[in-house]
Point group: C2
Chain length 369, copies 2
């Protein structure tokens, strides 16, 4: 793979821009049917803090081979896993140098001669996720792309494959939930959290939702309740011995989700019923999970973890396109929504800083091209 060599100026952005050859996953093959347009992408040559190692790069045209599809990107989010990949702390990550980003939506710009399922103008998402979506044109094999409806707002198509899918899988894969059952979660205002609230509501499952105490938490409670949350508590409200006394007509939950750690994870355990399961999928507080011996022995709790990336590497991942379709149809029907902030691609720095939490908590940052 070529290394970054040539510095260019004058891209209208403040970053150092460089030409880069061979940065996409496509190396030259025999039967190219044309070239992609030149592309602009956010590239890192080495692992480190994203605001230090990412650079806007002009990427030269690459061959669109017979099985390839060239997609003009429309929108791509900045996910925590993208940040962690750039930092080098995520177990599955591309080799450097690499273009950032892993999910997104675009429009088919050109197709290779052997491509059958997609045509120019189709709207497509990378499903399962792929690497390198933070660029204006992405060339990948036909099999990477999944056609989606144009009736769905691009920011939802751009974001369906990571967070909503995590929520959907976690609702399915650990405990059989029936209407009237309940779940409990912390970090409920996260994008996965918002999806869990709504997927629960759609299934007739009740949700108990924990959020941090912070300015605006009353408004956040109302927002989550509008999405279908049955109960929303700030963690401070739960500094009592018997949290379950707060549940009115809600069943003790059999399933809990933890994306915070520390005390917030202990609170989820407190709500769980005998024999319940807590699934950890994030660690926003950067604190470990603590469990009492009696929670395991007498309360028979199970503690598990979920990682979508690993799921995507199993045979079950063949379901992911049907899952994306289902989730996007919920969006189309107005049954599933979540907060996002759309930021033009050329204002990447702003979106990145928001995604890095430099201005406190912000909704999901979605780059638009």
């Amino acid at each position: 793979m070529a290394s970054l060599r040539t510095t260019l100026r004058g891209l209208g952005v403040s970053r150092r821009a460089v030409f880069l050859r061979g940065i996409t996953s496509n190396t030259c093959r025999a039967f190219s049917t044309g070239l992609s347009p030149p592309s602009k992408g956010f590239v890192y040559e080495q692992h480190g803090p994203p605001d230090q190692v990412l650079r806007m790069v002009e990427l030269p045209p690459v061959p669109v081979k017979e099985n390839d599809v060239c997609v003009k990107m429309l929108a791509a989010p900045i996910n925590p896993s993208d940040i962690n990949r750039i930092e080098g702390v995520y177990p599955i990550r591309p080799q450097v140098p690499a273009v950032g980003g892993s999910e997104g939506v675009g429009e088919v710009h050109a197709v290779g001669s052997a491509v059958k399922s997609l045509s120019v103008g189709d709207r497509v998402i990378a499903c399962p996720t792929t690497f390198g979506t933070w660029q204006t044109y992405v060339v990948k094999e036909e099999s990477v792309w999944h056609k989606v409806s144009k009736n769905v707002p691009i920011e939802y198509a751009a974001t369906v494959t990571v967070n909503p899918m995590t929520a959907l899988r976690m609702m399915e894969d650990f405990v059989e939930l029936n209407p009237g059952d309940a779940i409990v979660q912390n970090g409920s205002s996260s994008m996965v959290g918002q999806c869990i609230v709504q997927l629960a509501r759609i299934r007739g499952v009740q949700s108990i939702n924990l959020i941090r105490e912070r300015p605006g938490s009353e408004e956040l409670k109302e927002k989550l309740k509008k999405l279908g949350a049955n109960e929303v508590f700030t963690e401070n409200q739960l500094e009592i011995k018997n949290v379950k006394s707060l549940l009115n007509n809600i069943q003790e939950p059999a399933l809990g989700f933890n994306c915070v750690g520390g005390n917030a994870a202990s609170l989820v355990q407190k709500f769980l019923r005998q024999g319940g399961t807590m699934v950890t999928y994030g660690g926003m507080a950067k604190k470990p999970i603590t469990v009492s011996t009696s929670s395991f022995i007498f309360k028979d709790l199970s503690l598990r973890g979920f990682w979508l990336q690993k799921w995507m590497n199993t045979e079950k991942a063949q379901d992911c396109r049907a899952m994306a379709d289902q989730l996007l149809s919920f969006v189309e029907q107005g049954e599933l929504k979540y907060e996002m902030e759309l930021v033009p691609f050329i204002e990447f720095d702003t979106a990145l800083n928001y995604a890095l939490g430099k201005s406190g908590s912000r909704p999901k940052q979605v780059l638009t091209f």
Copy 2:
């Protein structure tokens, strides 16, 4: 149920001895076929520290009804769960006043007129466990008792139903182990720990065993190795980054057992392979279990608990007699052994103090009658 009323002196023991009516689980019924001999038992009227609330009591004869079997006890252990029941901190416990103890072996002294499966002179164990084995004569329904071979030393028959059975179930119920696989455990010198070492050896499963650093730990290592332990480490030896570098030709374990908590539980997790399961069945260090977020997400660990008492209340408990037979046949064949200290019933105080850890770590205390 009658309360303790009358104080008697002169039983040859230092404790206050009292008559107690109706303390066994057998209340008067219509068709008694005789009376048991008077019995002596260790009784608690209220929950509290066992060395303060237990009293030697003379129990009057009780009816041996048509379905009852009167057993002259031969041996009964003092288990941690017995201590916790007396303290009132164990979730499943008899109503007070109660005779202590929950497992043991005896000889059939008399049978009710409808008893078919047992005869005077048979050696029997309470299987599943029952309450009130710390007394010289126990009258319980026929269905409580399970006939065992007289070729097995009484101390093994007396102790097979709690600790070895915990070890056996935990080896069966969580992860499918095949010859060549490995397990890891802490608290390896406990009675369950010794059984796990040997049940692993019998199945061709390798065992990695952690023990506390303390005087005599080198001798303990040798003892465990003689039982079949493949590796034994003191916790201090494992204060290195990559504990797995210590494993020679042993597979990364898929299953771990924790009866300690705190750092010793973290060490078990460190040894486990991707996707491994840690089962907690005790908390000797009285410290919680701590788990990193990444252990759940990226390493995909599952954390579970095991409680034999709960298992005994499921339909699976019908297997427990076959399990006891299997375990006792291992004992008979010399394949299963563990350390115990036999103490005459009249020296109950001594055994209790040892069981309470007042003289440091001691082998399992088994009362002999």
